[in-house]
Amino acid sequence: MIVVNTDFIPGMRVVELRGLVQGNTVRAKHVGRDIAAGFKNLVGGELKAYTELLTEARRQAIERMLQQANQLGANAVLNVRFSTSSVIQGAAELYAYGTAAIVQPEGGAGDAPPEGAIGAARPLRQEPGRES
């Protein structure tokens, strides 16, 4: 499963778009780690526990997004973005969303990517009659 932030993948051609896929997670902090972070507050600096929380939340949100993409039969997720929201007092949600797509290697089984492939508009073909 290819996951990218852009709307193109070098050397690949988008065959079909499978729609928006998303994953989110709402996480709370362990109380003990919160107290330990309180000590760190005395001198400033990085709160590693919170950084790990953020990393875990991001990883889980992306994993759920990829699960959805798998269910749709896609092999790549394009244009991934993150968004956060404060859903209730004291909790924050991390939301990852992107566009699931089926991609194919461009051209034949050649070594070099075709000319004009970089940054060029991708040929986009949607099967007629398919619901998005």
Partner: protein, 162 residues
Amino acid sequence: MRVEWLVAALPLLVFLLGYLAGKWVERRHLRSLDVRESDLSPIRFHAIPLPSGEKAFIGAHMVAGEAVIVCDPFKRLAMQLKLLIGGEILGVERVVQRARREATVRMLEQARALGAREVVNVRYATSNILGMSRQTKRIGGVICAYGTALIEAGGPEGWVQP
């Protein structure tokens, strides 16, 4: 008499500790950032979704880095004063900028682990997790930097698209 003075001086000691320790921690972090940034300087990154040159790329993968950095009590006190008189809050600004640089460096380290030399479409996101603690005495920068690492043709041997 002396015990009373010590108790009265305790908040001042906390702020003095915050000021000195905070400055030391900040200086050490900035030095570490300088070293790591110059180490990662061959990796180009920018905010548009197109590669910067005419190179041939064979693959891409999303990379991300996070950092959560808080202010010490002295910076928080300075911020409270600035909230009264108005103006730029330099202490908090420096902390958030450090968090941004740290998140960027971690993203570039992930890109380097993939063997990439270019990261495109870099975006920055923040989060409200510092407001999660009951105390709400945490002021700082929570930054997530993410982008797409592009791997060049003729890059690392035996590279496989993740």
